[in-house]
């Protein structure tokens, strides 16, 4: 119950932060309306229409009301509604984040389980090495080096971007997910091109997710394998496979679900840097582009969207935890 209350409170705090940032930013919002050469009177009039003459609490209440109704303002960079800009960019980010999660889960979990089972042997060293690298290598540099090696030097992979330029716009936009849209349209050539473009950014981000999964699952499995119920399972003659996957891994399922949500959150953050490196037209590129142009409405809109998703994922993780582990209910 407490968690359910945390969700709206988190959102309120997030909106408070974005409002505060808007206020401390050294950007005069009336300038965008009136232009540089407007008279003092025209500026004051503009401030009045924008509601800037009201006390802060009133301004904050209005800000709250606008955000609740989906009005995130107009981006000065694109000239569009921030909300429609975000709707255009978000599918690309989800595509990347999901691919990276699949890679991270697929590599990290087996690595962590093997590391815990063969503790102190080479799978364990490998798991710890991956965890250490994920902790220490900057994602933007790894992405650049991957581009240099596999695109520039070896030519194995396509360059930055989500799709080759000559295929751009050829697939009908249905869901915004290029892979899905091109498959729906029956364009296998576009789908394979988009998939090839996805490989490097997804692998780069996926390394960090696999580090997280390797570390967490190794620690959880080490703990679970030392419990009495594992001894019981072995004593009653279960196969090692059943012991490891049926009992030890099952006991770790609840915290792993939380890790999954956590991984998705950090992927959303990591996407800001990765998308910039790979010119991936998602939320991260949108926000960094807005950053360069001091486009506050776009930056804060993106912050609100990511904050909303992260808070939602946290709530979901909590509910899954209760579902999978009856002791915490």
């Amino acid at each position: 119950m407490r968690r359910v209350l945390t969700f709206p409170l988190t959102l309120l705090a997030l909106l408070g932060c974005t409002f505060l940032f808007m206020k401390i930013a050294p950007i005069d919002p009336t300038l965008a309306v009136t232009g540089e050469k407007a008279s003092e009177a025209a500026r004051l009039a503009a401030a009045q229409t924008l509601g800037l003459d009201q006390p802060w609490p009133v301004q904050f209440a209005r800000h709250l009301g606008r955000v609740m109704t989906g009005d995130l303002g107009v981006s000065t960079l694109s000239g569009q509604d921030v909300l429609s800009d975000l709707a255009l960019a978000f599918p690309a980010t989800i595509e990347l984040a999901l691919a990276a999660t699949l890679i991270g889960f697929g590599i990290g979990l087996p690595l962590g389980v093997a590391g815990a089972y063969w503790r102190g042997r080479w799978p364990d060293h490998l798991a710890r090495l991956v965890a250490l690298l994920g902790h220490s290598v900057p994602v933007f540099w790894l992405g650049l080096m991957a581009l240099y090696i596999f695109y520039a030097a070896l030519g194995w992979m396509p360059g930055p971007g989500r799709i080759s330029f000559y295929l751009e716009g050829l697939a009908p936009r249905i869901s915004g997910f290029i892979l899905l849209d091109s498959l729906l349209a029956g364009r296998l050539d576009i789908a394979s091109d988009a998939l090839a473009h996805l490989v490097l950014p997804a692998l780069t981000l996926g390394l960090f997710t696999s580090a997280l999964f390797a570390r967490t699952s190794r620690a959880l499995m080490l703990d679970a394998l030392g419990q009495d119920f594992i001894l019981t399972a072995r004593a009653k003659g279960l196969s090692e496979g059943r012991v490891v996957f049926g009992h030890a891994l099952r006991a770790s399922a609840a915290p792993l679900a939380t890790t999954l949500a956590l991984a998705l959150c950090s992927l959303l953050e990591g996407s800001v840097l990765t998308e910039t490196v790979f010119s991936w037209p998602g939320l991260g590129s949108y926000m960094t582009g807005a950053l360069m142009a001091a486009d506050m409405a776009a930056i804060l809109g993106g912050t609100i969207l990511i904050g909303l998703v992260v808070a939602g994922l946290n709530l979901l993780a909590d509910m899954m935890q209760r579902r999978l582990d009856p002791r915490t209910a």
């Binding site: 705090a13 933007f140 650049l144 620690a219 912050t303 904050g307 946290n314």
Partner: protein, 272 residues
């Protein structure tokens, strides 16, 4: 408990960090060399004369990487100095005072924990304007919540202790108890957590620099140098490569040293 200097991993971490710390210490001496442009010597590959090559303005990448140590590592230490003690004090106060003060503080902390860190730092840095100090403030403001949680957890076990009751009988105020008697107890676990966190702080700081929100050009900063190397990735990969390697060295060094320090100071925790 084993001495830090007998742990091979800790030694490796120290070996990785030493050249960077030397660079940070000698950075001011390098400042001129790091800013000197030689347009006739642009984009030179690594050679005996320029070990790390030169960048698009003919500046020596080695000199810039060494000089950049001061800004990136300095930023990380500044964040550590701001965020960790703040978290420790808030946690000690929350745990000692109890009742509604604790409830409010811990709820605020929970909420701050749930807000995405890098994104918030990015928005804040955008609002404050780019610059090394603003980047430090942005990272610090998002880094304190875990310290509050940890410090409060430590406090809970101490607040019923006899020496706290004795201090209270002597007439010490609650705030004095929190700051003078309880906060020092959490110091060692704060340091352990901090040493484990430093790698992440360095990466966050370099990330902000990469996005153009840290030290401003022409000042050398590792993240910004990697970003500047993007345009010449194909013909001069050393411009982005070497400063990035320096970030990796810092990250690995702090991770290894942090792991070793935890093993030494806090043997209860499982090594992983």
């Amino acid at each position: 408990m084993k001495p830090l200097l007998r742990d091979p991993m800790a030694l490796l971490g120290l070996a990785l960090l030493t050249p960077l710390l030397l660079g940070a210490a000698l950075g001011p001496l390098m400042a001129d060399a790091a800013l000197e442009t030689h347009l006739e010597a642009r984009l030179l590959a690594p050679s005996a004369q320029h070990w790390f090559g030169t960048d698009a303005l003919g500046r020596d990448v080695l000199a810039r990487t060494l000089a950049g140590a001061a800004s990136t590592l300095g930023l990380a230490f500044l964040v550590a100095l701001l965020a960790a003690p703040l978290g420790l004090l808030l946690g000690a106060v929350a745990g000692t005072l109890g009742s509604w003060a604790e409830t409010i503080l811990m709820n605020v902390t929970d909420i701050a924990l749930a807000v995405p860190r890098l994104i918030l730092a990015l928005a804040l840095a955008a609002a404050l304007g780019p610059g090394l100090l603003n980047a430090a403030i942005a990272v610090a403001l998002t880094a304190w919540p875990p310290y509050v949680r940890q410090a409060r957890a430590e406090t809970l076990s101490a607040r019923k202790a006899d020496f706290i009751a004795a201090a209270r009988l002597c007439g010490a105020s609650e705030l004095r108890i929190a700051l003078v008697h309880i906060a020092p107890l959490g110091l060692s676990s704060m340091l352990v957590r901090l040493s484990l966190d430093l790698a992440g702080i360095v990466l966050a700081a370099a990330g902000l620099g990469f996005l153009g929100l840290g030290a401003q050009p022409p000042a050398p900063e590792w993240g910004a140098m990697v970003a500047a190397g993007r345009t010449h990735l194909v013909d001069a990969p050393w411009i982005a490569g070497f400063p990035g390697l320096a970030i990796v060295m810092a990250g690995l060094g702090f991770s290894l040293l942090g792991d070793a320090l935890r093993d030494m100071l806090d043997p209860r925790q499982e090594r992983c």
